[in-house]
Structures are given as C-alpha cells and as structure tokens.
Chain length 226, copies 2
Amino acid sequence: MALLASRSIFHMNHPSANWQTRFIQLATDAAGDDGAHDINHLHRVWHTAVTLLADYPEADALVVQAACYLHDLVNLPKNDPQRHLASRQAAELACRELGAMHFPADKLPALAHAIEAHSFSAAITPTTIEARIVQDADRLDALGAVGLARLFYIAGRMGSELAHPDDALGTQRELDDKRYALDHIAVKLATLPASMQTEAGRRLGQERLEWLYEFRGTFLQEWDGR
Amino acid sequence: MALLASRSIFHMNHPSANWQTRFIQLATDAAGDDGAHDINHLHRVWHTAVTLLADYPEADALVVQAACYLHDLVNLPKNDPQRHLASRQAAELACRELGAMHFPADKLPALAHAIEAHSFSAAITPTTIEARIVQDADRLDALGAVGLARLFYIAGRMGSELAHPDDALGTQRELDDKRYALDHIAVKLATLPASMQTEAGRRLGQERLEWLYEFRGTFLQEWDGR
C-alpha cells in the first residue's frame, strides 16, 4: 500500500518519497503491538487521504502525508482517561522530531493542527483543508469491514463483552461502548458520516456505515438465536 | 438467550431447569474476562445444540446441555502450547464438580467424552451423538457474524496483526493465523463445515462460511485500497 500511495501522489503536488520513508520510520519506531493502530492503519489513512486530496489541489500534500503517518505517534487506549490529550502530545512530538530533521519550519503549525484535530476525543474543529482531510481519512478507517475488524480487535484488548446479553441494540438501557463492543456502532460510528469535512469523505463514510448496519443485522440474528 | 433456550427444550426430552442453573453457576464461577468465551458463548452453543437436537430425539439432552455449558471450564489461549490438553482438563473438572452435586453417575462418561471431543486442537473424533452435537454447536459459533467478531476480538487479545500488509489472502506466502487474524478464515474456519457431524450443522456451517467469504471480499477491497 505504501508503494501504491506513493505512485498515486506523483500525479499531484507530490511530497518526496524521501520524506515518506522518514515518516514511516518515525511511526514504526513509536509503534507498540496494537494491530488496530499499526503501520498498516497509517498506510490506509494516507492512501484514503490521497483519494480525498484529488478534490483539493490547493491542499499541502506534504503536510497531509506527515500528519497521516504521525497522528498516532502518541496513542493511548480508548479507555485511558488521558486519551483526549494524546493528539496534542503526538503533535508536539511530531514537530520536535521533524524539526530536528529540517522539515520546512513554515509547515509545522499546519502539521500540528492537523494532528491535534484528527482526534475524536480531543473534539477540536479542523480549520484547514489539510486537517479536514486527515480527520476524514482517519475516521473512514473506523468504518466498513476494516473498521469492524478494528472495533472487535480493540474490544478484545480492552476486555469488553461482544454485546449486551439480552438487549444487544440497547433499546431498553443506556448504551455503553466500553462494556459492549457492539454499542460502539451506535455510540460513535453512526455519528461519523455527518462529521465528515469533505464531500467524498461523507459519501464514503455513509457507504461504510450502511455496510456496518448490514453486519449488525446478521450479528443480531445469530446473537438472539432467531 | 438462557430463557429462550430453556423454553425451547421443554418441547423435547427436557433436562430440568434446575440443572441448567447449576451448569451456568459453575461456568460463571470459572469465567475470566474473555468476551469470546463468556457465558453468552455458552448460551449460544446450547441454543444451537437445541436446534440440532431436534433431529436426534434419541440423544441425551441433559448430557448435551451439561457439555455445552461446561466445555470451556478450562480454557487456554489459542497460542498456549498446552491448549490441546484443555478439553481433557475441562472434562475432568466437570465430572468432579457434577459428581459432587450427585449428577447421574451413569451419564458422566458420555459427558466427559462430549467435552473432550469438542475441542478442535484436541483432535478427538466424537463417537456419540451427544458429542457430535456439542462439537457442531461449538464450531458453528466460530462462523458467521458472531464468529467474525470473536475472531478479531481474540486477535486483539493475542496482539496479532489484522492481516498481512501486502498479501492478505496469503497467495505468495505460508498462512499464519497466530500472526495475521484474517488468515484464520482460510487456516481453520474454511475447514469447519466439512468437519460437521450433523446434517443441520453442515448446512448452517456452510451458510456462515459463505457469509465470512463475503466479509473477506469487502475487507480486502478496503485493505488494498481498491
């Protein structure tokens, strides 16, 4: 995917492959063993961002690429109370590391904003096109079939239950996506398409959400033994 | 689901609800925080077994019920080298506990066999109809939408990757389902329908495997960014 992504970008305002290699190196050095936030996630986010960039030739692709690869440089588990601070810490660390590598200094504020604003829990509104693209690309990776795999993968790491035993849809109770993995679709994923900042992001997000609803229908049939 | 299952069984050679309560208590006491092998899994396996039992009125439903609820009494992680011994240990523990509760002693050998033979890794051929039903019911829970959720949930606990970065289907490499969660479909799940011991199990297993293949197709499109 890294190769595919770098090929596509040469048709645009192509950041150098040399920088991409360095972003990947930085991200790989910081990676733990979380398969839902590994280098493959970063490649996918960058790859999706390339698709979104096609509609915004004015966007700075190097800033977008750096933010796609470095947005999880500091990543805290979903149930960590400090989680909303992680994106700010990732932005600071990315700027420090790239500053030392003589990344164009005038691009650092835009990079920091794109990284800070990507996070759902930080609740920062993206104000630049670069930040809007990165936020959408990251959110799209939480939807669809890959998003579904990540959802249950993360639930396994948190020790959640798959779903509520008798009321999996949560019609008679308060939803709780830390306790019940399936609740995450209603609590968070269902809200993502409307939060998308680009037209293509909204369309793709809606498609992937519909797919998740189809999955949930099949899951419920098996879960309730109908 | 527990209620549903106990209602259905009253149309058959119904084991007493009193025993079911005791099986559930034993299983709950032994449960850890693994949401893929929790009491909901046991309820589902028993519920599926009730469906399969409909074709075999000669089967001892109390033995099947006991085995459904107690088959994971000793449960070792997928990547534990002792895993193939867990079902024998579960059988011994179940017989010891139920013996102390004055469970009919003449049913204990059939119960022990059904528990021992349920396990894929133990590779014991089931020789009784009770063991065949329990094995099928447990394997059916590894397939379909619930099976998929369990697959990625377990992968999260093991710290696997979701899939191989460049060759997710494994056409150019050795499959490795401890390292790549998606490989588990080809390595194990695809083999389950043919291993089913009952006609209904085979049919349901095949349907759920087809669903998994559809999921995999969508996953691959997103994964490879096509």
